[in-house]
């Protein structure tokens, strides 16, 4: 056997607490290129967990990381750990179709999502990481008069609160996307609701940016650390069991998305949530084809194009409870049939890859950000397919709720007990059937 030159020293994980991080910009990039990019600092440390934190956040997804970031940034709370059972961003933040929008219509929802949009609009400068926030426009197509009326209601609900919305007619849609099916469609396109400020964001970069931002403020992000139990004494949370040992904490926030039922069960709570698998897909890379985000109104299909050129698309959940991050063929067909119905020329484009994520489907399709009946235990769940766009506001509001021990006005409607009292936030009007939301 012959010897090959090794890399030299093995690159160790970075434990040190002091912040050596250099700012990201074109100058630091050029500077580093002269040294073969050997001098970049890690974007985050890989610390061992301390035995105790003021606040432990379970779940290193978008919401958990954003929560930690805003706890540190907005509330000065930095003795915080984020515990993530997989790798950083391995959950839904790392597998969603990246759409952001604030086209909600219920009073409990709209201001929250609009706040999220505002945070997106300033995010990169805030955390010095290019997450490619790209306001390419989100267009929802309608195919019946009833759908148009519903869009009018929604669009007005947006406009009434100062959120941008435009109602397009058929010709205006055709102008934007002339190669959609306007000739032979089973359900003709009649128009659409456009939010120009909607768009896409590079999903992984959101996790990375928040992680880097939180870490640099002293938050410990601990990967491969699974929470297996929650310790409660006298109705009060005192700490969590993990595969890395017991970690004591004064407050505990659960932001575990599709796994919420499991983590809440560790505290003896049964949630109004089901876990469902949602598939997503990407096509082979193409030259610019679809400029914005478009959703089909006569079937389950939505699509946008990534900066790499892949058409990123998806549709409905598979429809059965699942913790497997993969779906089955019927939904693939269902989604693609709708895709070709909307864009006949797409038939010869090829689907490269499919994957799935586990959605925390709530009973009314709206999230929960709240305190729980257990003292110092806070809950963030119920995002269905829509939690990516919520990431900044969710983190912001959850941080507020934890830090102040009371919900912010923006998340006041996202109460855990709203089903008991009958104050549902049901944008779709489907009722307590999570797989219809």
């Amino acid at each position: 056997m012959c010897k090959t030159k090794t890399l030299g020293a093995v690159i160790p994980p970075y434990h040190s607490v002091q912040d050596l991080r250099m700012r990201y910009n074109v100058f630091s990039l050029i500077k580093n290129s002269f040294s073969g990019h050997k001098n970049w600092q890690p974007a985050w440390r890989e610390p061992q967990p301390k035995s105790e934190y003021d606040i432990v956040i379970v779940g290193g997804g978008g919401h958990g990381l954003a929560t930690a970031y805003y706890l540190a940034k907005e509330h000065g709370l930095t003795n915080v750990a984020v515990l993530e059972k997989g790798w950083l961003g391995s959950g839904n933040i790392g597998r969603n179709t990246t759409i952001i929008r604030s086209n909600y219509m219920l009073p409990g929802n709209n201001p929250f999502y609009e706040w999220s949009m505002k945070l997106w609009e300033n995010l990169e400068q805030d955390f010095n990481f290019n997450a490619m926030v790209s306001q390419r426009g989100v267009l929802n197509l309608c195919h019946t008069d009833a759908q148009r009326d519903a869009f009018a209601r929604r669009g007005n609900a947006m406009r009434i609160d100062g959120v941008d919305a435009e109602l397009l007619d058929r010709e205006q849609v055709r102008e934007m996307y002339p190669f959609f099916d306007f000739e032979n469609a089973r359900f003709p396109i009649k128009g659409g609701l456009l939010q120009r400020r909607g768009g896409t964001v590079r999903h992984d970069a959101v996790a990375w940016g928040y992680a880097r931002g939180a870490d640099s403020r002293g938050v410990d992000i601990i990967q491969r650390c699974e929470v297996t139990g929650i310790h409660i004494e006298n109705g009060k949370v005192v700490g969590v069991d993990t595969n890395k040992g017991f970690i004591r904490c004064k407050k505990l926030g659960l932001a575990t998305a599709g796994n919420s039922s499991e983590t809440a069960a560790m505290a003896g709570l049964k949630l109004p949530v089901e876990s469902h698998v949602l598939q997503a897909f990407v096509s082979e890379g193409l030259k610019p084809y679809i400029d914005g985000v478009v959703t089909f109104g006569a079937g389950h299909f939505y699509v946008s194009q990534s900066d790499k050129g892949g058409l990123v698309f998806g549709g409905d959940i598979d429809g059965y409870n699942s913790y497997a991050r993969r779906g089955n063929l019927p939904m693939v067909e269902h989604v693609v049939e709708a895709g070709v119905a909307m864009i006949p020329s797409i038939a010869r484009v090829r689907v490269l890859r499919s994957w799935g994520g586990i959605m925390d489907m709530s009973m009314d399709g709206s999230p929960i950000i709240d305190k729980t009946p257990i003292q110092n235990l806070y809950l963030n769940t119920g995002w269905c397919y829509g939690g990516f766009k919520a990431t900044p506001a969710s983190g912001w509001c959850f941080a507020h709720t934890i830090a102040r021990d009371e919900p912010h006005k923006l998340n006041a409607a996202y109460r855990l007990d709203r089903f008991r009292t009958g104050h549902m936030l049901d944008e779709k009007g489907q009722g307590a059937t999570p797989n219809l939301h």
């Binding site: 910009n25 406009r159 009434i160 890379g285 050129g309 049939e337 006949p344 779709k428």
Partner: protein, 972 residues
């Protein structure tokens, strides 16, 4: 241009010449060629450009894993971007174009990016393009987008057809090499239903391009014999050109058969591709192994290719990759390339073997041991190689082999992880139990004899064994070599995405140490080939960089699809107008005769209005309303859901389903019913009639018919199984027409048999079984949605058109008109009846003004949850009528309501308009709305705010019943 076509050999038909063009230039090839082999035969090594740096690229493989030689195939609506030249079977008239280059493949301006490649390292874009903020969307991103992407997709509809099909088998064999053939044979001989699928144009797997002997015959002849036997068995289905692209739950495999991708234009009766769902009791994966490259400088120069691919081009296609070639390997198998090429008369310069102790038979080709290729000279084609000791060797092509990776993809599609084998230097497939086993090289068997025996054993799976044929094995030995770090030039790991070996340690340094993070940060393995070639090298480099073992690093997640699948295949025939089935009512023909304009309502086509003399919808609908209210109109209401409910407990069952009571309904009568969901929200409404003691027929809204049926099935089977009741949809059995207006009775009287219609025989809410037109069985309901004296007449569907015509004839003297759903909707809004806009899944019975219907005496679905405080809140939005203060103003659906002087804001939002209509009776726009505490606000003037359409008018809140409040007409 010199020819690289060898004088003899190969499985091509040299007597058939096919012409084709590449980038507009004409070429010829032979039947049996791929586009790649034909281009190579014509001396074309440059076939594409890479993603990021636009590096010149040629073929690397002879198969499905090809990352470089991607072309735009065909033209117009048939244009396909990113098609692998190595998989395109040549046909006469083929046209292809290179992609991701401008202005030409040979001279590509985009290649300037490689000048700045020291900046464009992995993840550079996360660190820059943030300033100034507005530049991202306007400047940076468009540039990135234009530079990225590969081929251009067509914007014309695809003219070809696609199909779907199911198959069932006892055993599915994936791959038709020696292992697959033996597996299929073993199962087939014991009478099992076998499907043998291979993505190749021809069955035989590696036997088509290796020179091996089995049972004293050439491997090719042996395979032909086995295939002939399989083909002769009725229980065997052979599926060439069929890629099994995914393994799914229930041992269901997805597969795509390329029925007509090898011809210019498919036969008009045949699909281009057929998508299969293969439901297999058992499956054997015999997909073989993928040879992998080595990372060294210039390992992407056109002319550097995998050793097995070079062998394949020589043996199968009779094409030499160059006039003089060199071989670089860390294992024995590449020696075959030297031997086979030499036997074909190609000059083989040297074998460079990274091992000191290599001992394979080089057939006289000189071997340099213990050396590595550090760099390749040449830009658009290899001119020579540089060794670690500084030696330069001239050659036109370089065959490389970094070892073999079993093709385990499918075995990992359901979440299982492969494990590392230290001696084979390969990830071996996980154990998935007896339902899905792996055989041959896919299971890490490197010797032919092992592949044959393994295939036979996995195929028989404990059943009757088959004799394993004899063969001579080639030895196999390997020593690790992933990355030649002395290289000066770029050493590529992921060719298409331009990820280099150095990107991985960089990712690790920056904290992206997990293999999944490194993948996402560097984009390694994310291109169209999904890392089939390079992922193992990436893992090894990352393992070394982070001091972990291969197993600790592990593979990234294997996902469907094994190779990319066209949208068309998944969609099948369900596109365009056939996206969903069309549902037509029994009166469709009649409505067409009447000039109906149809509208999609769910799957149904409903007549929407019946224009005369160029009327628009509003004029037509208004005329229809007036004619109906002043005389008589007829409307097709067949789409309403109709459910036949029978049994001793039919009444008790309906009492559970509806919030009001039906067990007390008299035979011969109908009653309006309101159905809630268990959460207390209104689900559906409709009338239900009692035809006999144990027989009801209920109607549902068109939209909810299927949902209500499922709800009934659930309620009965899961909640109240003790009830003796049956229910069956009779929606399609009956053609149903509403006949409405003051002259409706007189009209119907003319066709009703032997019954004088009056308020005694047919009072309001009567439900009668009668006959019409001299014996046609019919059901007559005296119901009204329009507020007029009206009936609904149902007749068996096959008679529908005739009966409707007869009604029209009968009403002629009264000026009968057909009216559509637009007119229907106007009349119901005039009467304040709630429909879809108000039954929106969030309203309660109280919100709809129907609170009185809710029984307090019995248990029914939704009873308890409807009593929650949030649903009883008097400030909830409830249904009101609304009309413009200035009758010339228009109100639109979806406008929001604000107090008279409030400024628009969410906090001030009071509700919204749910339905509007132009009322020809009142000569103004009227509407229904949901308004906070609305019932207490009749008479209040509010703003009707429609910022979306730039309108704001004042509206007056009123009773929802806009017209004929006393219901005089109903009882007239």
């Amino acid at each position: 241009m010199s020819s690289y076509r060898l004088d003899k050999g190969g499985l091509i038909d040299r007597t058939t010449e096919l012409s084709f063009s590449f980038d507009g230039k004409p070429f010829t090839g032979h039947a049996g060629d791929t586009l790649a082999s034909a281009l190579m035969a014509n001396g074309m090594t440059l076939m594409g450009r890479s993603f990021k740096y636009h590096r010149p690229r040629g073929v690397i493989t002879a198969g499905a894993a090809e990352p470089n030689a991607l072309v735009e195939l065909r033209e117009g609506g048939r244009k396909e971007a990113n098609t692998r030249a190595t998989m395109i079977e040549l046909y006469d008239g083929l046209t292809a174009r290179s992609q991701n280059r401008w202005p030409s493949l040979n001279f590509d301006v985009g290649a300037v990016t490689s000048l700045a490649s020291s900046i464009f390292v992995a993840g550079f874009y996360y660190k820059t393009f943030m300033w100034p903020k507005s530049f991202w969307e306007k400047i940076y991103e468009p540039l990135i987008r234009r530079a990225a992407g590969l081929g251009t997709a067509s914007r014309l509809p695809d003219p070809d057809k696609y199909e779907k099909a199911y198959a069932h088998c006892d055993l599915l064999v994936i791959g038709s090499g020696p292992a697959g053939l033996m597996a299929a044979l073993a199962a087939a001989r014991s009478g099992q239903r076998v499907v043998l699928a291979d993505e190749g144009a021809r069955l035989g797997g590696s036997l088509l391009h290796e020179r091996e002997e089995i049972d004293g015959k050439s491997g090719l002849d042996w395979a032909a014999g086995v295939l002939a036997e399989l083909a002769s068995l009725p229980t065997v289905t052979l599926m060439p050109r069929t890629t099994v692209m995914g393994w799914f739950d229930g041992n269901i495999f997805g597969a795509v058969e390329r029925v007509n991708d090898h011809v210019a234009v498919p036969d008009p009766y045949e699909p281009r591709q057929r998508y299969w769902r293969i439901i297999a009791k058992r499956a054997v994966l015999a997909a073989g192994a993928e040879e992998r490259p080595v990372a060294f400088g210039g390992n992407d120069v056109p002319g550097v290719m995998l050793a097995s691919a070079m062998r394949s081009y020589a043996n199968r296609y009779g094409v030499a990759a160059g006039r003089s070639v060199a071989v670089f390997a860390n294992n024995d198998s590449a020696y075959r390339t030297a031997r086979d090429l030499k036997a074909q008369g190609v000059h083989v310069e040297v074998i460079v073997d990274s091992r000191m102790d290599a001992s394979a038979d080089s057939a006289g080709v000189p071997v340099i041991r213990g050396q590595q290729v550090t760099d390749v000279s040449g830009r658009k084609g290899v001119t020579g190689i540089e060794l670690s000791n500084g030696t330069h060797i001239d050659c036109e092509a370089l065959a490389m082999s970094g070892g073999w990776s079993p093709i385990v993809n499918l075995a990992c599609h359901r979440g299982q992880k492969p494990h590392w084998d230290k001696s084979l230097l390969a990830f071996l497939p996980p154990d998935n139990g007896p339902g899905f086993t792996v055989a041959g090289s896919a299971a890490g068997k490197m010797l032919l004899s092992e592949c044959l025996a393994d295939g036979a054993a996995k195929g028989a799976a404990g059943g009757k064994p088959v004799a394993v044929p004899n063969c001579r094995d080639e030895g196999f030995a390997i020593a690790p070599l992933w990355w030649v770090k002395e290289s000066h030039g770029k050493a590529f790991i992921d060719y298409q995405n331009d990820a280099t070996a150095k990107d991985l340690p960089l990712a690790a340094r920056e904290g992206y140490r997990d293999v999944e993070l490194a993948k996402r940060y560097t984009t390694t393995g994310m291109a169209t080939d999904q890392g089939k070639l390079g992922n193992i090298n990436a893992i090894a480099i990352l393992a070394e960089a982070t001091g972990r073992s291969m197993d600790e690093v592990g593979t990234t997640t294997f996902r469907p699809f094994y190779t990319p699948v066209s949208f068309g295949a998944f969609a099948g025939p369900f596109t365009g107008h056939h996206f969903q089935p069309v549902r037509k009512t029994p009166l469709h023909e009649w409505a067409e005769e009447q000039g109906a304009v149809f509208v999609e309502t769910g799957l149904w086509m409903r007549s929407s209005w019946f224009p005369q003399d160029g009327e628009d919808w509003l004029a037509s609908a208004s005329r229809e309303v007036l004619a109906t209210r002043n005389g008589v109109g007829i409307c097709d209401v067949s789409t309403l859901g109709k459910i036949d409910v029978q049994g001793k407990d039919a009444g008790a069952f309906l009492d559970k389903l509806y919030c009001n009571t039906f067990s007390t309904l008299a035979v011969g009568k109908a009653r309006y019913g309101l159905m809630l969901r268990e959460d207390g929200i209104v689900y559906d409404d409709g009338t239900t009639s009692r035809l006999a003691d144990d027989h009801y027929v209920m109607t549902t809204t068109t939209a909810n018919a299927a949902k209500v049926m499922a709800q009934m099935e659930f309620a009965h089977q899961a909640l109240f199984p003790e009830l003796d009741v049956t229910y069956v949809s009779v929606t399609e059995q009956w053609a149903q027409m509403a006949v409405a207006g003051p002259k409706s009775r007189a009209t119907l009287q003319k066709i009703v048999d032997g019954l004088e219609l009056n308020d005694q025989t047919a009072p309001y809410m009567a439900a009668l079984e009668i006959t019409v037109m001299g014996g046609v069985p019919a059901r007559l309901f005296r119901l009204s949605f329009s507020g007029e004296h009206a009936y609904e007449l149902a007749v068996p569907a096959d008679y529908g058109n005739m009966v409707a015509r007869a009604v029209c004839q009968a009403g002629e003297e009264f000026g009968i008109v057909p009216y559509g759903v637009e007119a229907l909707s106007i009349m119901r809004i005039e009467k304040g009846h709630v429909a879809g806009g108000e039954l929106n899944g969030t309203t309660t019975a109280g919100d709809l003004g129907l609170g009185k219907m809710v029984s307090a005496k019995k248990d029914f679905i939704g009873r308890m949850m409807a009593q929650r405080e949030g649903l009883m809140d008097p400030n909830r939005q409830c249904v009101v009528g609304i009309r413009p203060v200035d009758p010339t103003d228009r109100i639109r659906s979806g406008a929001h309501l604000l107090k008279r002087d409030d400024t628009p804001s969410m906090a001030n939002d009071q509700g919204y308009v749910t339905s509007v209509a132009w009322s020809p009776m009142l000569d103004m726009w009227i509407g229904l709305a949901l308004l906070a505490n609305g019932r207490a606000r009749h008479g209040e003037v509010v703003q009707v705010w429609d910022g979306l359409r730039g309108a704001r008018v004042m509206g007056e809140i009123c009773d929802p019943m806009h017209f004929d409040k006393e219901n005089k007409r109903l009882h007239a």
